[in-house]
Subunit: 479 residues, 3 copies
């Protein structure tokens, strides 16, 4: 079954393995490594997107602080996921057993297979995404020490356990186990639940325990402000840059989650994921913008296009399609996107109502969009597409089952269980951690530091400096 | 003809189709899907580039407005191209018939093939590019409603008809029909004409009908200003960021237009496209910069390196090589780039002379560069390279035919016809639309809104906000 | 050995070669072209990263100037490398001869093979990287003419000679020659030495000969300032954007240097490169940040997280792993990264001590990290991994040889020779050039131009302009 042939040597450069004999397996392996290298690089690009979006969304005096957190996220995620996280998530899994946590492959010791190394790289990029979601929510008031501590703990332990349960072959909710719960297991193709819901729930807990920024809902003396005061983003340009980069990164995130591109159906699955990602993003954008326009017009009589709605609607559509991108039809992606726009709007207003301060509205996007995305899979997964991505187990979206005259809601049940499991696990582990940090006075910067901004108080000065601009005298002299 | 072998399962993750049996066709399909996923993602990245370039080029008071248009472009393009545009462009085509418009595949209904789904994704990214070109030209004065209306109409109908005529197998100008006009059809490999000329002509019509910004050529009372007043870009940093991203995106745009990478010659064609793209960009940059330096020095006696020239020269070189990137030799790419730099300079000055106000100089780049690029193909297409990309039909660039002692100008004729067809079609359809919008008073914001800027008047406030910076008292207290 | 089969035609688009017959070789060629297209595009993306990082790091009055240099770098690099550079680097090489310089393939004349064309594109992207490193160091005071002259000379001649010596099959230090020095040749997989050390040494020479910016170490009258005055970066947001883009680009740089992905072991090598790149970046970041925190706290008693350290530590880790990314184990990457953080810190302080003014600290990153990276290969290259990337020649990192009870330090010797060769060659050629430029008064802008900034004096005005913001009267009128 192996065809060998000589291929020509390339002209020079770093590597030396040109001129060898190449077989079918090698092309296949090389192609798959390349595919995940591409996909993971695009996912890693999302770190840039988050950094720009978060920095743009907050006040100028905390730009260095938030960006530092975004960079350190990636670095700590790398070390945490390399040392233990990846082993906890995938180590020693096999479809004929179930386990709570993996236990092999710490520090990638002795791993030399390209397939497994690139799989680490891909999963590392995903893990960073989960960790970085929280940075924006707690911006402008969370201590760096607390953040680093949380970040290591999430990417090294909390998140890997969730990954293990849903994506490992031994996971108790996994669709890839020989004996999955509900006969199908949870279908979270690229991580609406595993990644975004995890990040979103953590962000909600952190925001609640940390408390709002001074002046947002309460003034300096803790007295409630009548109308919550929004803090306008310091740079919409950075926000838009970040949003576009995130959208772009999603084309690695979603199609890449097929993991191999040389296998049966994988081209179909990856292509569908790209199409659905696009349609859900667009629908989420338009839906959030329109509902905001309608309500704003009813309240004020004026028409305004709100760019925050446009950006966060897009992102919420993207988060929501992440679970179902490979299993719903394009019209289903549109439905998911439209509802995601509403979900975002609703959650954003709920947070204000409950006086929970999310500096970048990451909770509505990731918690709101992520949970909706998981549930939508249970409603809209189309049979043939689901079979291509997850195997033909006979349980599809409730809409289709109902259309076939069956009341089979097993996939929906699996999805709901998955959502509840993620929420429960994150709350059970992160609540004590955050409370402990608060108790030890490690969680929040002091009041004066907050007012002056973290950049000046902790990072040696402000992010922007125009001291170098020549004065009028110099300009005059020059002329 | 099919070789099957077992490939190893990857470790976990979203998909489930590891461990299957893989055949030659599957590797080929997977590879091609992946190739277009890569290329289309890079093309989609150009949306970010356009957004940054446009935003940087205009005045600070309209940044939110232009960026909103850029995001909405992508979203509306997605919906418009998914619902009808793609079907109009490619539906039901076959090389043995000719038709004006396609008629199959609305909403991608029943499409499950990865090859076709990813083809939609690629063509969607291209369609967005065509639509977004206009945003910059009409910036700072065009109503959002008019813009959305135009954008949907262009990506859903006007552009698909052009695509059908040039790129579909049934197109009346298509090189892929069994019986192409002039024996070869129009050769527009990646869209100098189909995309850039379409966008550029639309931008010219819009700019003419919309009129210049107040204070550019005429003052508030409509009285002509002696020397046209340039509005300096508010951020060159954003412009450069946008330009670099666009250049980068072109490496998806041009090499990606081969559509499949596993076929005969496709590696040669894609590689040539990347090389030519690079050389034309560099030549366009240097050529525009040098001509501007020469003329500026003659006029003022001073030497100045103009970054606007550098950026737009680069872009004009890129636009111009888009048609011929796969068919000209590298030296031809240099010639195309050099002339593109002059074309840009000429058009830019012509617009000022005729008092047509293009806020980002998109017309010189896309109309000027696009039309020159199409014609250059008729002059410089090299026989063996053309044969690899379009088949060996015997009609090449006039320079080569003339070198062979033949006067065969058929390819050149086809190119000129193509340019005329695109200009005619766009003018015929868009002129009435823009005039109607103007008549209904939907096209242009009112005078006061324009002066105060669209961000404040339509989008709830300015794009930059430094209200969060601590005052000196707070800083003092902190120390 | 050739399997042919029919593949389906894609739906329309630019190219025409769908529907052909495809063979094993074609898939392999197509895949390899695609791989280098991806890798080179990511490397080219680093130009954006350098532009943003450099622009953010300097004072506002020179933003246009530095960005112009970054764009022109790419353009001049393209022309220089196309005309002569590539031919000098790789032309006519063969493993059974040795030569100082290549001599074939000027202007890519007659090259139609996709493999070779894409190889040019990849090597062009690398060459631009080498050239652009210097731009940041000499920012704010170097004349444009001198810069363009240097840039052409480096990418067209100085750098190609180094490439030839290390990466060409005929290079006198090359690991790909039949008879490599020390039995193994220099192992610089992706260019810690060839690219970064070359750029770094050039930057050091330029900075020394050009002299510091006015007011940095000496005041306007040349009198030494007691405490060197740092010039704060004008925009940390741009710096972070640049750093993230550079990190991302490294995933093309390092894994891409395997050059073909369809060959034996190439998947393993590329995947390892991605993993090691990640771990070294993260380690470099944390190591530089921590050492700075410790020393800063000892000196001032305060805790501060310094974002400059975080960014440059990351970059120095990336530069250092570039040579060994394919040959060290992940723990080795961590060691390389940790030491790189210290190396950066040390070099950065040394420069200040010796009053050498590097406007963006490119010398510590590229010279410091690059030389350490080359030497680290001689210490930490692991046998099986080295065999996969460079062939099984029996000489590995000194640590492993020593572990096997052998004192074989040949690889280490080859690395040290390589470092010395690069330093010597660059000094020998660039020193006279820079001295000549200085002698001819072409190197440095005059004092008044420097004070007013290059943007105003040479580029028609400043990079940021807020003149378009409406005044309060207009705003009032609007309300």
């Amino acid at each position: 079954t192996t065809n060998k042939l000589l291929i020509a040597t390339g002209v020079g450069g770093g590597g030396s393995n040109g001129g060898g004999i190449v077989s079918f397996e090698e092309i296949s392996t090389g192609l798959n490594v390349f595919f995940l290298l591409f996909a993971a690089s695009f996912i890693f690009m999302m770190q840039t997107g988050f950094a720009m979006l978060c920095a743009g969304s907050i006040r100028q005096k905390n730009v260095k602080n938030i960006m530092l957190k975004n960079i350190l996220d990636s670095c700590i995620g790398a070390i945490g996921f390399w040392s233990v996280g990846y082993a906890f998530a995938f180590g020693g899994a096999s479809p004929d057993t179930k386990s709570f946590i993996g236990y092999e492959g710490f520090f990638l010791a002795n791993v030399t297979s390209g397939t497994e190394l690139i799989s680490w790289f891909f999963q590392f990029a995903m893990a960073c995404t989960a960790a970085t979601i929280v940075a924006g929510t707690v911006a402008e008031r969370c201590k760096m020490e607390a953040y680093l501590c949380y970040s290591l703990f999430l990417s090294g332990f909390v998140y890997p356990v969730i990954v293990h349960s849903v994506w490992s072959e031994s996971g108790f909710l996994s669709a890839f186990n020989d004996n999955p719960p509900f006969g199908c297991g949870m279908h979270d193709f690229a991580g609406s639940g595993v990644i975004h819901l995890t990040g979103g729930v953590t962000a909600l807990l952190a925001a609640k325990i940390l408390g709002p920024r001074i002046g947002r809902f309460y003034d300096r003396n803790g007295i409630e402000i009548e109308d919550p005061k929004p803090f306008p983003p310091h740079s919409v340009a950075l926000q838009v840059l970040g949003t576009f980069i995130l959208w772009l990164g999603w084309y690695g995130f979603n199609p890449g989650s097929i993991l191999t591109i040389s296998s049966i159906n994988s081209g179909d699955v990856a292509a569908l994921a790209a199409v659905n990602t696009t349609i859900a993003a667009a629908s989420g954008c338009l839906s959030a913008m329109l509902i905001d326009m309608l309500i704003y017009r009813r309240e004020t009589g004026e028409t305004a296009y709100d760019i925050t709605m446009v950006m966060n609607g897009t992102l919420c559509g993207l988060v929501a399609i992440t679970a179902g991108c490979a299993t719903v039809a394009p019209w289903g992606a549109m439905v998911i996107g439209i509802v995601a726009g509403w979900v975002y709007y609703l959650w954003s207003n709920l947070l204000v109502k409950f006086k929970i301060d999310d500096a970048v509205d990451a909770i509505p996007v990731h918690l709101g969009g992520g949970s909706w995305g998981c549930i939508a899979v249970g409603l809209l997964s189309e049979p043939t597409r689901t079979a291509k991505a997850f195997g033909d187990h006979g349980h599809y979206g409730w809409f289709y089952m109902w259309g076939q005259g069956s009341g089979d809601g097993r996939l929906l049940a699996a999805q709901i269980c998955g959502v509840l499991w993620i929420i429960t696990w994150v709350c059970a582990i992160m609540t004590p951690l955050f409370l402990l940090l608060k108790q030890l006075d490690l969680f929040r910067v002091d009041e004066l530091e907050e007012e002056v901004g973290c950049d000046f108080s902790h990072h040696k000065g402000f992010a922007y400096d125009s001291s170098g601009v020549p004065d009028d005298d110099t300009l005059e002299k020059f002329k």
